[in-house]
Structure formats: C-alpha cells, structure tokens
Symmetry: C2
Subunit: 145 residues, 2 copies
DNA sequence: CAAATTATTGCAAAGATTTGCAATAAGAAC
DNA sequence: GTTCTTATTGCAAATCTTTGCAATAATTTG
C-alpha cells in the first residue's frame, strides 16, 4: 500500500491529517522491517516534535486500518508495515523467528468464515512453538529426562 | 491437567516448590475461566502474601509449561488454564469473543512441522478479525462508503 | 475568509509489566 | 539435622503503555 493511499483513506473516513500524522507516516515509510515506538521517535525529523502518546495512538490507528501489524508478544511492541502478507514462527526457547507464507492459512480462514461468519485478519501473525533445534529442551535450557 | 502433576513436573525439572508457588497454584485452580494478575492477587488467602512481581513471574512460568495461556492482546493480560484446547475469535470492532475447536488447525500444524520442523504450540490462540455483525464498519463505528 | 465544530495533541498522571539486587529459603550434600 | 548451594522472593526502581482533560488546530459551514 502506498503512503498516499493511506492518507486518502483515513481522510475519507473522517480522520484529520495533522502535521504529526504526516510526519509519522513519512518516518514509518522510511523504516525497514520491524520497529518500535522508540525507533519511530528516534527517526522523526528534529523539527517535528511528536509526543510519545501521540505516537502510540497513531500506530494503533494504523494497526486498526491494517497498515501496520504488531508482532504479538513483543515487549516493547514491534510493528511492521503490511507489505507482503506473511506470518512468523517464534521459538519460545531460543527466540528465533522464521517467516511463513500466507497460503498455509487459507483453508483455516475459509473454515472460520463459513462456520462462524468471521473474517479473520491474519495479515501478520506470530505463532509460538519450538524450532527444530529446541525440540526437547525445557524453558530453562535443561534437557528433559 | 491436575495440580499435583504440575507440581511434580516442575520439581522434576529443577524448580523449587515454594509456599508462594503452592499458594498461587491453589488459587489458580479455584478460578473459573479467564483471570488477571490482579484477580489472582485478590483471591489469595490473606495469610499468604505474595508480591505482585512474583505473581507475574509465576504466571509466566506456568505459561512456558503450557499450564496457562495468555489471551493475546488483552490489557491487563488475561490468563486461562489449558484444560480443553480451543481458540478464540476476537472481533476487533465490538470485542466479541467466540470459541473455535482445535481441529480446525490440524492441517496447518502439520504443514509447519513438515516444512519447517516447527512444533507450533497453539493451545490457546486469539485470532483477530470481524464478526458477522461488524463486517462493514470502520474502527470508529462509521459505515464505509 | 471568519466563525463554529470537534478531532487531535501534549502533558501529566495512572496503570501494567519487567528487572536488578540483596535477603531468604528450598533442596542437595554431608 | 546442619551446612552448603543457588533458585526464588520482595522491594524499589525502571520501562512500557494507556488515559483524562484542557489547549490546539483541521475541517466544515456560512
């Protein structure tokens, strides 16, 4: 999605285009990959001072519109722009993150829609579990048995 | 899972059974459905004073062991005991929560295991989206178009 | 373009959660 | 049962996030 389209969409629905929101959109569009609220703040042009609560509120707004996605469970929360739909496998033992293509979830989404009329918005999902290397290891790093 | 089994399992792996952990397990086993850290604190017997940071640490420990599951996205975090594996559909508009059976996810889990060697631990998952009633509504409650 | 309307911001305070560290106590070793 | 080892706790402080409210500024209206 292009930045201009986001601006247009927000305005059409009644949101106001303030200098803060424009500065934040600019900054976000210049960031690669994941980023935190603090990272956004650090990258804002020095002449644009935006309160941290405004950054939180704006990122949340963009999440509601599907422009951004929070990585579930990250603290501080990591956000990412929703360019290419994909999901993450997050190892609960070593923290390794691995990408998964979206199509794996197609069947599931169809089920949910047909059985519950529910439109799942899984554009960015973090799935907890164990990666190949951490299979038989407890949370403390002690091998079981 | 029975409380005694949890205790045994934790001990076997090297965790110590303190009075605080026993009191917390007791309390949790007496709670129904979802609960927060604060709720656990409120239900502790008055003679058992457990610091709030200890409660946080203990709930996290129980999550790592699959005894509890945090409901993704809830603030303050809601926890639930992992009795019957199921998942939640959470409407991002009205907040309605709906249960879904686990078997819907079986195919997905198999894919992840075969293609990535990843053992997903989806014993309790919150899936964001739109329920039937909130289909064409923006986050602010204004109908689109 | 000025006035009216109200979404948005900044600020400060509250709330939620995590973390470092010295004191305590569980379990192991003797 | 006493001593030793070290996981765990409580406390206080730090961090992360949310929220209420008066002041500000983006749109709408005239």
């Amino acid at each position: 999605m292009r930045k201009q389209d986001v601006i247009k969409q927000l305005q059409q629905v009644g949101y106001r285009m303030t200098s803060q929101r424009l500065a934040l959109l600019d900054t976000i569009w210049n960031l690669e990959g994941h980023f935190t609220v603090e990272a956004v703040r650090g990258r804002l042009p020095q002449d644009a001072s935006v309160d941290i609560s405004t950054i939180y509120r704006t990122l949340e707004l963009l999440c509601e519109f599907g422009v951004l996605y929070p990585l579930a469970g990250s603290v501080p929360t990591e956000y990412e722009r929703g360019e290419v739909p994909h999901h993450h496998l997050v190892c609960r033992n070593c923290g390794a993150v691995r990408m998964v293509d979206e199509y794996h979830f197609d069947d599931l989404l169809h089920h949910l829609l047909e059985e519950h009329g529910f439109v799942a918005e899984l554009t960015h999902f973090a799935i907890p579990g164990r990666c190949r290397e951490c299979q038989d290891i407890t949370p403390q790093g002690l091998a079981i048995e």
